[in-house]
């Protein structure tokens, strides 16, 4: 069983009406209590006046009987006079006088200590017939005799007025709450209307329609903020989707190229009878493309694992110079072959904390790039420096043709190649630098390129340096 209403606006209105009802009941109750006190104190005041009047009207008969002169009143038939209860006791409790209305009833029984002494004592009592009364007592001396005068009025009219008030509230409160419900519901509905609109619009957003945006993002209120945050998220999503789409299309293009070659070479080879050597050549040529496909697929796998965060870095302390030396050393023979020079300089003590293999991959890719694009006889320089804020920077500088300014931002993009036509001879599918960028960024580093046409390229990697206290680990 569900006790919670499903709709937000119903819940809002319900809680609002509940609070209102509680407040109204509180206010109403407070009013009743105040009113009752007020009326009762009026009754008390009246009783006090009465007592003052009555005091003067008592007289003692010669037989010592206490009598009340009844002829004094301006309005003897006045309701208050008729309906009052009057009793006079001696301090020891003996009844000296009771008026007709009281008859044989008792007004409060034995006097309590201090009753009516030096003022008026008020209290609420219940008569033997059940009538609730308000009694005021006063100790009065008549000819030296102490008389405890008690005078009371019925409280029943007070209670009946209260009752009427309560009855009225039983009618008025639900009406008020009903009105509050209706207006509250309307208000909640109006306040939530933008959310409904947003929900409707959000429902229409699918991977194919990511360009849609939520409405109400131009307001400054909470909903506007929500819409803006949501729209920003959508923007990033759209960008990611677009990137993915481009990646898929680029990847399939890259895969298609070797496939097309394999196919053509195979089909053409089958068209005519060839010698054994010719067939070997054809198969060899096809296998070359297969190798290209294999390495492409492997790079794609690395990228997809990197994208999905599946590559866990095996962090150790890595001496940077050793890593650089190793990366350059790998291509030593190519450098020698092209009569290039490799310059390696930097502080041997610098080290970073990271996955040696992943970092090495990044360096190897960039150095390979530099060797590939530098003309014969030029120098390739790798410089390891201590950057500010405990960062280590690695600069790889070549003297190649450089990269035009408009292309510089794109060099780290997947499948990007400066010279589309030349890639097959130089090898690679334009993934090396994007893998390098990923590797560096996975270590909390940055990679940047500065280049001027005909002045070569400088790749600058900046990585957080290892803490000095990890020095001990290398020694181990």
């Amino acid at each position: 069983m569900r006790l919670r209403p499903r709709k937000l606006r119903t819940r809002l209105t319900l809680s609002y009406v509940c609070v209102l009802a509680a407040l109204l009941v509180l206010a109403w109750g407070g009013t009743c209590v105040l009113l009752f006190w007020e009326l009762r104190s009026q009754l008390d005041n009246f009783a006090v006046q009465e007592i003052e009047t009555v005091e003067g009207l008592f007289f003692l008969t010669p037989g010592g009987q206490l009598q009340l002169r009844e002829d004094y009143h301006n309005h003897p038939e006045s309701k208050e006079v008729i309906e009052r209860y009057l009793e006079v006791l001696s301090p020891d409790g003996a009844v000296l006088f009771r008026n007709d209305r009281l008859g044989n009833g008792r007004l409060g029984g034995m006097p309590f200590p201090g009753e009516g002494v030096g003022g008026y004592s008020e209290r609420s009592l219940r008569l033997s017939d059940g009538t609730r009364v308000r009694a005021v007592s006063r100790l009065h001396y008549l000819d030296g005799r102490p008389l405890l005068i008690r005078l009371a009025h019925s409280e029943e009219p007070l209670y009946s007025r209260l009752q009427k008030l309560l009855l009225a509230s039983l009618v008025v409160l639900p009406v008020m709450l009903g009105i509050a419900w209706l207006t509250g519901y309307g208000l909640a509905r109006r306040a939530l209307l933008p959310i409904q609109q947003m929900a409707r619009r959000a429902q229409e957003i699918t991977p194919e329609k990511l360009h849609a945006r939520l409405p109400n993002d131009d307001t400054d209120d909470e909903l506007g903020q929500l819409a803006r945050v949501f729209n920003a998220t959508l923007g990033r999503l759209e960008e990611a989707f677009e990137q993915l789409r481009r990646f898929t299309s680029d990847a399939s293009h890259e895969l298609r190229t070797p496939l097309a070659m394999i196919r053509s070479v195979g089909e053409v080879g089958l068209q005519k009878d060839g010698t054994r050597a010719e067939y070997r050549d054809i198969v060899g040529s096809m296998l070359e493309e297969v190798n290209r496909l294999t390495s492409l697929v492997e790079n794609l796998l690395t990228i997809s694992r990197a994208d999905s965060g599946h590559i866990q870095l095996q962090r150790t302390v890595v001496p940077v110079m050793a890593l650089a030396r190793e990366s350059v050393g790998l291509f030593e023979i190519l450098i020698e072959e092209k009569s290039q020079r490799a310059i390696l300089e930097g502080d041997e003590r610098l080290q970073i904390e990271g996955d040696r293999l992943v970092l090495r991959q990044a360096l190897v890719n960039i150095v390979h790039n530099a060797v590939k694009y530098s003309p014969a006889g030029e120098a390739i320089a790798v410089r390891v420096k201590n950057g500010s804020g405990n960062r280590v920077s690695i600069e790889i500088q070549d003297n190649g043709p450089g990269i035009p300014a408009e292309d510089q931002a794109k060099v780290f993009d997947r499948f990007y190649r400066v010279d589309k036509a030349r890639w097959r001879e130089s090898g690679g599918a334009g993934l090396g630098l994007s893998i390098a960028k990923w590797a560096v960024e996975a270590h909390g580093g940055t990679i940047a390129l500065s280049s001027e046409p005909n002045k070569g390229c400088t790749f600058r990697i900046s990585l957080p340096g290892a803490l000095p206290n990890s020095q001990a680990e290398i020694g181990a």
Partner: protein, 246 residues
């Protein structure tokens, strides 16, 4: 084409025809290629196309080696392997996996595989791995090796062609020694990258480096001599033998 002169281990004496290999592979084409390739190399091959059949055969008959694909319908290769090992069958097993995941490698070796190979692999690599499995535990060739008039002496790190001492760099010597180890067989660039350059990842762009290194080695050992001994097999790799091709 088999240069069997130096092969002395028991497994290699049994080499021609009597080494029994069980191939468990559900892809028909792949299975056929494996069978043809292994048979061409002198092994006796039995193929099982399902995991169940492979499991049954491996239990019922004695094989010298099981080549087991990981991705099999029904029970995968890991399951089959661990069940075999639980039943006390100690036949060497080489796993073929298409997942290049470290976890798979660990899992493969944990479940009792003797080696694993990631698909797509180069066939010469498979052959080389099989030879290594049979040779496991035996010392590497450390004595003088000879092919035609080319000799190397691994202990003294000396290379001679037609009696003339050749001046090789350390890397060139390692390369030549590796080629001698696989004499008469094609070695792929991947094998060279891993075994000679000690590259653990296949993504390192080493192809150019290997080609240049190989060209230099060829200049030194074949440059002014005949017959040519170091040959390039297009699309596959390199081979050290007397005639071109294979």
């Amino acid at each position: 084409m088999l240069g069997t002169g130096q092969l002395r281990s028991r497994a290699f004496r049994a080499y021609k025809g009597s080494v029994q290999i069980l191939v468990v592979e559900d892809e028909q084409k792949m299975a056929k290629a494996l069978r043809d390739g292994l048979e061409a190399d002198g092994y006796a091959v039995r193929v099982a196309y399902t995991g169940e059949e492979g499991f049954y055969l491996a239990q019922a008959q004695t094989f010298d080696l099981v080549i087991l694909d990981v991705m099999l319908p029904g029970h995968d290769g890991f399951e089959i392997l661990s069940t075999l090992r639980r039943r006390g069958i100690r036949t060497p097993v080489m796993m073929l996996t298409s997942k290049d995941a470290i976890e798979d490698r660990v899992r493969g070796l944990d479940s009792g595989a003797d080696d694993y190979l990631v698909k797509p692999f180069a066939f010469p690599e498979l052959l080389a791995r099989i030879r290594v499995l049979f040779r496991r535990g035996k010392p590497d060739i450390a004595e003088r090796l000879q092919l035609a008039d080319l000799e190397i002496d691994p202990a003294r790190r000396v290379v001679r062609r037609r009696g003339q001492s050749l001046d090789l760099t350390a890397r060139e010597f390692e390369l030549l020694q590796y080629l001698f180890l696989h004499k008469g067989r094609v070695v792929s660039r991947e094998m060279l990258a891993r075994d000679v350059w000690q590259e653990t990842t296949r993504q390192t762009p080493l192809d150019n480096v290997i080609d240049v290194q190989m060209a230099r080695l060829r200049r030194k050992i074949d440059g002014q001599f005949d017959p040519k001994l170091l040959h390039t097999v297009r699309g596959v790799g390199f081979v050290l033998q007397e005639e071109g091709g294979s």
